[in-house]
Symmetry: C2
Subunit: 475 residues, 2 copies
């Protein structure tokens, strides 16, 4: 028997390393090579706001696996190796090393797990003091800037050998900002408002549309906006930042309506784009621009898989392909592809777009389709209802107002999505909605769920049940 | 058109008043009479441990609706009226008034919502200082005993005109106990350990079987046992209390193995029995001894419904009738029956047996079938697995160990039940299990659920997902 060519993985983060680990565990004899262009591997993107805030002390705390642990799993990890081309005809990848030399690598199976990159479409985005939050080096630069120069040391960031120390050191030597603009009020933006606020700076957040947190619904957005302001941030909704100004360092911003603000740092969090360039000419892309895959994560080309922030997935509500880059699904899809490559065909699962976040004391969650226009585009006739109910029995101390918004299809009664906000165990309650969405439940079935009730945790009718009851009455 | 005879409800608590309220809202012209033998109506059973503890100040805080509010809804509420007989042939109930007189009442539709009563099968259970926790008068007596006589006043209990003041006053005048035995380590027993411990008494809890909290599984039980002991309680498992001794007031207990303990108060919490006597000769009872009903809450006799702790419901896993007396399902079934009687046929829904409780800092939850013998009896081939995982990303402050146990059927892969214990948002996570059970999901489908992930609330793989992953690997 001819030995199989190796399983080659492009990208050493959630999807790529989950796949490599699972494949190696199931087929220890087969070679697995992971090419990672940077130095960091296997790190927790979602933890970076808490590193900037200072709640997570060291960058290395955010690593799930060290390079040594990855090697112990029998994975041939090659950091500083950028895959610059894929030839699906030859079944090879072209790899550019740090030293500028190139090499070719044959593959038997290939996983494209190249992730995404932060979008930064704003004029002046290249100025000093303007950041995106994508990757640990960007988090390190932001925290370095926030620390006082006389207290800063690059070692305090805990980056060990991974960190781009030069940039971090440069920002560590600059006076901290007095006023920071967060451009984009999505969930990264909102988390970063909390992170900056911990550093005694004035924080302004700008959101182009009328409401923060698109995809969470107006009721959630209004409570979050109020809560951010109670915590000292200034929220500018309906204002689009079009330019960042300054000589070298950023010193001000301009909105489309002409409004200006003096700032000395900016975080641009207006979304990410999938990294698909190396396969854009050879595998099919979806409407979103991310790589189109089937239920096993297979692209249009045999033996080529894609997973994580560069790939689409099947949406559990619509059944259509959707691009919703999130951490859990990247891990899960990678793991499933590792199993499939090892011979046990495993579906990557669907995506409900479940997202949760903390904004100071508020907990927010969303899942499924919550935007009415999006629901109509998908062929539904959406009906929405929102309620506010206590998080515990009214007589039990600590009950907090919890707002739940549910959306259902009038014709079938099917639940399409939901969002939630509150201070007491609110976010995690979105899991009920996510599970009901995956099961294709109607809102009437949700109303009849036998959910948890005990005075310290929930009123007799959980807020999710109250919302289902009210929405069902409106159907 | 001949006017319909009234909708008569026996029992003025969760099921009865939910039905009366819903029926009256939908058909305001029809007469609704609620007979309640006691003085208390519409109160929160599940809150009584927190009243005993002192966390809920007044008994009246536990009322959902006052008699006046009930009357404002157009309901003819008659407290102190005990229904002593039902003639389904004549379509009448016989009512015994407080003054000893009897009357007959015709009904068009009848709801039996007579609830349950605490079982107390132990010899000596009638002694002074021996309590069950069922109803607000029993809670009042217990708290009266715990308060120092010179600080006690019957008004401090907040019972207004409802309270059985004589008994409460008598117990308020007695010196507080030094040692209390909680007989029965189910969820009421465990909640009462916490309640008594707040009063500076030595608390012993006795559980006949080897593990506390039957139905939560051994892993949950072990953590709860340890936690109760860390909080100063003594846990005696595998010890059956057979006798309570004392001259008038209880002074000691005896176990079946001859062990004795000096005590000066005891709480017997060994379960409840359904109150079915008034219809036992005329409607069919189920195997459990509770009233058998169909999916609309209808008994075997036309126009006679039953709901709440006196009735069975359909179990969402087995599809069989089951008797699991819990608050939410009583409310929901009552409400559905009210709608059905008003002309809109509405299913009462199923029961998963979802229960959650707090034991000091620990949060516990369970749903579905978790006992392996019970699963086998229902025709399944159960496989169980338990895991312990963090409640948050490891690098985020406040992560706590969360133990999840899941049970599935080997042949079909279907999830049968689960339980959970931990300190950080653990209990509410059982709602994911309850929803998956209602949907009939396989453990593989649960593994692929798109649940919430953000560092402050959950690791990438929620503990429920980790458990599903591990159990699925074992199938």
């Amino acid at each position: 028997m001819v030995e199989k060519e190796p399983f080659v993985v492009v990208g050493g983060d959630a999807a790529g390393l989950s796949a490599a680990s699972k494949m190696k565990r199931e087929s220890p004899e087969r070679e697995v090579i992971v090419f990672e262009k940077g130095r960091w591997v296997s790190y927790a993107h979602c933890g970076t706001p808490y590193f900037v805030k200072g709640e997570v002390e060291k960058l290395t705390d955010l690593l799930s696996l060290s390079p040594d642990e990855i090697k112990e799993r029998g994975i041939d990890l090659r950091r500083g190796h950028e895959v610059v081309n894929v030839s699906t005809d030859e079944k090879t990848v072209t790899v550019l090393r740090k030293d500028g030399t190139e090499t070719e690598q044959k593959y038997g199976d290939l996983l494209v797990a190249t992730g995404g990159r932060a979008a930064n479409p704003i004029e002046g985005a290249e100025k000093e003091g303007v950041f995106t939050l994508h990757g640990l080096d960007s988090a390190a630069k932001i925290r370095a800037l926030l620390e006082e120069p006389d207290e800063f040391s690059v070692e305090s960031l805990g980056g060990d050998g991974y960190l781009d120390g030069k940039e971090a050191r440069r920002y560590g030597g600059i006076e901290p900002p007095e006023t920071v603009a967060v451009v984009g009020g999505g969930y990264v933006g909102v988390e970063m408002v909390e992170a900056f606020s911990a550093w005694d700076v004035d924080v302004h957040v700008f959101q182009r549309s009328e409401f923060l947190l698109p995809g969470f619904g107006e009721e959630v957005a209004e409570r979050v906006e109020k809560h951010l302001e109670e915590n000292g941030a200034e929220v500018h909704t309906g204002e689009e930042v079009v330019e960042l100004r300054g000589e070298g360092r950023v010193s001000g911003l301009v909105c489309s309506d002409g409004t200006t603000l003096e700032i000395d740092a900016a975080l641009v969090g207006v979304g990410i784009r999938p990294n698909v360039e190396i396969v854009a000419g050879s595998v099919e892309l979806g409407e979103s621009g991310a790589i189109s895959v089937d239920e096993y994560g297979r692209t249009s080309v045999e033996n080529v898989y894609a997973a994580g922030d560069c790939a689409e997935m099947r949406h559990v509500v619509t059944g259509d392909d959707a691009w919703v880059p999130l951490g859990l699904t990247a891990n899960r899809a990678g793991r499933a592809i590792g199993a499939t490559v090892a011979g046990e065909r495993t579906p990557v699962g669907g995506i409900a777009g479940t997202a949760v976040l903390k904004a100071f004391e508020l907990e927010c969650g969303r899942s499924g389709i919550t935007d009415l226009d999006e629901a109509r585009d998908a062929g539904y006739e959406p009906v929405a209802e929102s309620i506010t109910a206590g998080s515990r029995s009214g007589y039990y101390p600590g009950a907090k107002e919890t707002t739940v918004r549910l959306v259902a299809d009038r014709e079938t009664g099917r639940l399409l999505g939901g969002s939630i906000v509150g201070e007491d165990r609110a976010a995690i309650r979105i899991d009920t909605v996510a599970t009901a969405l995956e099961a294709g439940m109607t809102v009437e079935e949700v109303e009849r769920l036998d959910l948890a009730y005990a005075p310290p945790f929930s009123p007799v009718w959980d807020p999710v049940l109250v919302a289902a009851k009210v929405l069902n009455g409106k159907m």
